[in-house]
Symmetry: C2
Subunit: 356 residues, 2 copies
Amino acid sequence: MDQSPPRSSSVTVADVARKAGVSKATAARVLGGYGTVSDHVRDAVTAAARSLNYQPNELARSMTTGRSGTIGVVVGDIENPFFSLAMRGITDVARQTGFTVILINSGEDADAEKSAIRTLLAKRVDGLIVSPAKESDADHLREAARSGRPLVLLDRGSETLDIDTVIADDRHAAENITRRFIALGHRRIAYLTACDTPDHRFRAPTDINTGSVRRRIEGFLDVCQKAGLERMEDWVHVGAVTPEHTYRIATVMLKSSRRPTAVIASDSVIGLEVFKVCRELGLTIPTDLSLVSFHDADWTSVTTPPVTVVRQPVYGLGEAAAKLLVERLNGNSAEATRVVLKTEIVERASVATAPA
Amino acid sequence: MDQSPPRSSSVTVADVARKAGVSKATAARVLGGYGTVSDHVRDAVTAAARSLNYQPNELARSMTTGRSGTIGVVVGDIENPFFSLAMRGITDVARQTGFTVILINSGEDADAEKSAIRTLLAKRVDGLIVSPAKESDADHLREAARSGRPLVLLDRGSETLDIDTVIADDRHAAENITRRFIALGHRRIAYLTACDTPDHRFRAPTDINTGSVRRRIEGFLDVCQKAGLERMEDWVHVGAVTPEHTYRIATVMLKSSRRPTAVIASDSVIGLEVFKVCRELGLTIPTDLSLVSFHDADWTSVTTPPVTVVRQPVYGLGEAAAKLLVERLNGNSAEATRVVLKTEIVERASVATAPA
């Protein structure tokens, strides 16, 4: 590392004042950009600050003004294309409105999420956008919402939380896919999700802590029940938290003698693994297995066959969350809003009638 | 929003002290976790802090201790799977060593990058990992390196910057692919990159501001020249900054009467667009066009044919950068290190002999 210039983390306003030959109050006025000083003094202080490599301490300043110009975002898994696209929606709005976005990845871990929110509040972000890992465990969200800094929940939220929320119409999408599968003669329909339960088994939608996924599974089970399909809870597989976990779950499921004839993948990372396992096991999509994945990820349109997906308004979710937050920062004090954006099924070639 | 509890952003140590009936100094000792007080006093202060919803001001604390327990990261495009995977490497090391990672996305914009570094330094991160958008414009990096807080450059860096750097052996990978193409009879070999020049034309590697890409293009041109291929600069296409831009560039290039018979895509986002354009134009990979993409992205193994890629040690790059940074934070004051990680070519089925 370049050792020659002085290390300057401890250069203070007093140091700059001394170098410029002015009082500390005058130096503070120039460096803080307030009050009036002569051009001569301003130049002297600026030159001294530059030569000492002075770094303004924005922290101290933000403690005075109460605004830091930053928005804190906590998401579950930035590697999931869903979240990285939502982030772009957030960042674009932030840039247009003069905010910098600071992101912390929780790894879908509730404790890491709590610590992330604490860190961001301590760093004096002006507001927060959070995609909560668990909805049952929401005390820290209520606390954050009461901190005086606005909070918007992204993609996940629950009816019991009185906090601004932006979600997609996931339940409706799941109902449509399920109806479609049943109309094509499918009876063994599996649903795969990353959400997990303590014993890795699914019994009822209340087991699922992530609202967006819970609503999809509710939709799936409701439609199945109305169509007279029984015990479809047994076809919901939880715990596909990584590609490796998904690979294992999908392999066991698709090697079974009672394998499903149709699969709903709860996100595109899961959809991709199911696709790979099918190829490995020699199962042809869609003749042996119909597949629909949530999220219109880039790969879904280039496979053979291309995969039918639920296109979620992912960019729009991020955009709407950031807009809501900026409105709150601008003084909107109306009651908590719940924005629900429409989803769309993009028909490709991975769905067919059930095999005989 | 829940309006009933008091808004508490302005609750101070003094407020807590008053509520608990103790002195401000005593309350500060309890809330700051230093000094000794009786259990009775501690309980009273803690209860008062809870009832007032007091938020510790970590900023003030970090100004005293000089450590905030956070690492700031600035990357070019978090939507690019390259960066999101590198982020996981960084985050895993950070978690193991007790740091929280704060990310800002620069959108590959040099001004946004400068502002991001300023914001992070002002928020008193302990150290920085930056993937610089432009290497020619590195004053702010030198400045950051002199701020007294360690800086590590990720994936990009230049010989002229005396700063810790972790890069992949990109030049070597590009040389190998180019040699392979030439051995298979290819003479019209195109290289596509997101890097841009002011007039969107490429003349020489010095036009390219991103070191990793410049080194690849140098390797590509060197091997071509040694094989007697002339004016291969004309086959380098810059400005594929978004899928839309890439689509346009690839369409013009592949519709041309002198279209290339082999393409090197500088990242997987570009590789995917080239793949799509080939399908649209009815060009068969690999008989009409050979394709190799940098980055072993998820989609590359599920296409028909699967795509030959340069597997970069992306997770390892992030991991190595974070380890270097943590070592610096633990007092390692050795000279700037330059870590170069090996790349690997993963042979799939997108490369064949040149069409006659």
